[in-house]
């Protein structure tokens, strides 16, 4: 079976009936994200009745609408807090969150920090396009220095969030970043994230030609691709350059986005720990009082 036919088959299986067409512009990277998620779901053999999706507000946060599973399209920035509640009520559900850089690290930064810190068992697919796409291209906390947006018309002077480094520092169980153009690593990471019993963050660098690319002269789809090729570097290559490179080689990689898997550790998620706590309390209580009759 060719890859094309296979993609069609997966779309049939996983797309929600009646929701197409998507709201995405031509050349938007976000559309690829659900194809990758479909592939990951398929390879993991997930029962979609037992998958709950959540999202905030933004173009990227519209993705759960297109996927045939339970989905909570919540308030701007709050998806992870909502998702925490879903998982608490039914730990058997696999939780996948789709969010944007503005949604997750701008307005929702605090929920992101705490969901990661608590190590809630969920997989967060964050589509980073350096911009607030849905509202027409305002400054995002991920925008590289110098970025032109409608609210930084003279160029951005704020330092950008490094989302993966932040997640790593918070002790998230799984952290990866990939450009969205190559399917295999993102699919593999989504799978690994879902399999991981803790908090998983997969940051996908996804172009927004409409609200970011155009203004920042990244050009049309072909040259956009090239921009992402030129501005990303594998973690290993980055480290090699930094450890052994000449000053020029170091300078050449310094401003690039490192891509790869930053962290992959196995540790019990929040609700696994919570379960243990409850078992401990109940056992003690039943022992003391001779059961709950």
């Amino acid at each position: 079976m060719t890859a094309m036919i296979d993609a069609e088959r997966l779309r049939k299986k996983y797309l929600r009936d009646g929701m197409l067409p998507t709201i995405f512009c031509n050349g938007c990277g976000h559309g690829a994200a659900f194809d990758y998620a479909f592939r990951a779901f398929e390879e993991l053999g997930l029962d979609m009745d037992k998958v709950a999706l959540a999202s905030g507000i933004g173009c990227s946060s519209r993705i759960p609408g297109y996927i045939n599973a339970d989905g909570l399209h919540t308030a701007h920035g709050r998806a992870l807090a909502f998702a925490t509640g879903i998982k608490a009520a039914n730990p058997d559900l696999t939780i996948v969150v789709f969010t944007g850089d503005g949604d997750c690290t701008g307005i929702g930064g605090n929920h992101f920090i705490h969901a990661a810190r608590r190590n809630i068992d969920m997989t967060v697919i964050l589509l980073n396009n350096f911009i607030y796409g849905m509202t027409g291209g305002q400054l995002a906390p991920t925008a590289p220095i110098g970025s032109i947006s409608t609210t930084s018309p003279y160029g951005n002077i704020e330092q950008a969030f490094n989302i993966c480094e932040l997640a790593k520092a918070l002790g998230a169980a799984y952290v990866a970043r990939w450009p969205i153009f190559h399917p295999y690593q993102p699919i593999k990471s989504i799978k690994e994230g879902i399999q991981n019993k803790g908090f998983s963050l997969i940051e996908l660098l996804s172009p927004c030609p409409t609200a970011y690319g155009r203004r920042n002269k990244l050009g049309e789809i072909d040259s956009l691709w090239k921009w992402y090729e030129d501005n990303t570097i594998l973690i290993e290559d980055y480290e090699k350059a930094m450890d052994y490179g000449t000053e020029e080689e170091k300078e050449a990689v310094r401003g690039k986005f490192q891509v790869g898997v930053f962290q992959n550790v196995q540790k019990p998620g929040f609700f696994e720990e919570y379960d243990k706590l409850v078992q401990r309390i109940i056992a003690k209580e039943d022992e003391r009082k001779g059961g709950a009759e």
Binding site: T74, R78, A81, G85, L93
Partner: protein, 394 residues
């Protein structure tokens, strides 16, 4: 591990049938009895004791307590838990309630059953953190953007903190709507006798789960199995694959943001599913009203000094009574209208500079004079003060 309501365990955790406890704790007890299995909250005076009480009790009945990062996250988690199948609640006070307003609207729009206990203080802003007031009686009705109806109950005793929390859960399940228990700092921190109802002394209303054919099920229209405007609930994980959004949506739940008809139909149903039942939801206490010429209309802690003032007035031969609102929203329009036809004067004691008095005025007949008896600053009205109001309006 999944929660299942276990009456024996709940009662073991609650302890003696008759206790001497704070209103906050009684609200926590009410949640436990109602079968609440998820609580997400953030500390704030004078509501912290609700969270502290439930933090101790919930794990012992296999429920989940999480102290969230803020009140926005608290209500978010509560709503998520409700979609995951739990009865869920949170508690807060003024500043936290202000932060909850967006998700409160989300719960209304997505028809999510849940309970918010608001142990009110005053404001604006941080105000008087440790002192009670009735600062959010209008915020609960109008604080979130858009067209909504609210269900809000106001306890005047510790016993009612328990009873009305159970009632709040029942109404939230019945109407698929977030229900607020609007206590105030006075009642929340008051200690008095509490009698814990036995299983057969309480009624619990449970969510109606979606049961009909998955292809025919409409998660956001009138019920397809009963004759009412409240759709059956497709709990996540039960195979209905529901899309839940705060955007204007059609009956299937799909966004319909640019369609006038869909919006009008949706919002009208969300409001009228409650307002149609206004009379059924009306819950008031009448004190000495039969022959009254002047009536106090009040709620919450203010009802306590008011009742004393009524007794003093009666001793002095004055024909004075009290109408106490236990359900403040939806507003008991007809009850107020009828009262205003019978009495000449209505006085509304409130621990604010006038909130519910506006609604009382709106629904009173022309010939009846409606005035406010405000008290702010973190103190309750004294019975003598209220008696003074009566004398001044003789």
């Amino acid at each position: 591990m999944r929660y299942e309501r276990d009456p024996a365990r709940i009662r073991k955790v609650l302890g003696d049938k008759v206790q001497f406890v704070q209103g906050d704790m009684a609200a926590a007890y009410g949640g436990l009895l109602a079968g609440c299995s998820f609580f997400g909250g953030y500390p704030i005076t004078p509501a912290s004791e609700v969270a502290e009480g439930i933090a101790r009790m919930l794990p012992r009945v296999k429920g989940t307590f999480i102290q969230m990062e803020d009140e926005i996250g608290s209500l978010a988690a509560v709503i998520g838990a409700a979609w995951g199948g739990a009865k869920a609640m949170t508690s807060t006070s003024g500043p936290g309630f202000s932060l909850m307003m967006e998700n409160y609207g989300y719960a209304i729009m997505t028809e999510t059953p849940c309970v918010i206990v608001n142990v009110q203080r005053t404001g604006p802003s941080t105000g008087q953190p440790t002192l009670g007031a009735q600062g959010d009686m209008m915020q609960v009705r109008w604080g979130t953007h858009g067209d909504v109806e609210a269900i809000a109950l106001a306890p005047s005793t510790v016993q009612e903190c328990l009873d009305l929390t159970i009632e709040a859960f029942n109404l939230s399940e019945k109407y698929r709507h977030p229900v607020c228990l609007m206590a105030d700092g006075e009642i929340g921190h008051l200690r008095e006798k509490l009698v814990i109802p036995d299983e057969d002394e309480m009624t619990l209303i449970e969510r109606v789960p979606a049961t009909i054919d998955k292809d025919k099920f409409l998660p956001f229209g009138n019920s397809q199995t009963r004759d009412n405007k409240v759709p059956d609930f497709p709990t996540f994980g039960t195979g209905y694959r529901t899309y839940v959004t705060g955007l204007t949506h059609n009956k299937k739940g799909f966004p319909a943001t640019d369609k006038q008809r869909d919006h009008e139909e949706l919002i009208t149903r969300l409001v009228t599913k409650i307002s149609d039942d206004r009379e059924k939801l009306t819950n008031v206490e009448r004190v000495e009203l039969d022959d009254a010429e002047t009536a106090f209309v009040t709620y919450g802690a203010s009802a306590r000094p008011t009742e004393s003032a009524v007794a003093t007035a009666r001793k002095n031969g004055m024909k004075v009574g009290m109408l106490r609102l236990k359900t403040v929203w939806p507003f008991p329009r007809r009850t107020i209208e009828e009262l205003s036809k019978k009495v000449n004067k209505i006085i509304v004691p409130e621990m604010n500079l006038g909130q519910i008095v506006h609604s009382v005025r709106e629904y009173s007949c022309d010939g009846c004079e409606v005035t406010l008896a405000p008290k702010v600053g973190g103190e309750m009205h004294l019975p003598d003060e209220l008696f003074g109001y009566l004398e001044a309006r003789k």
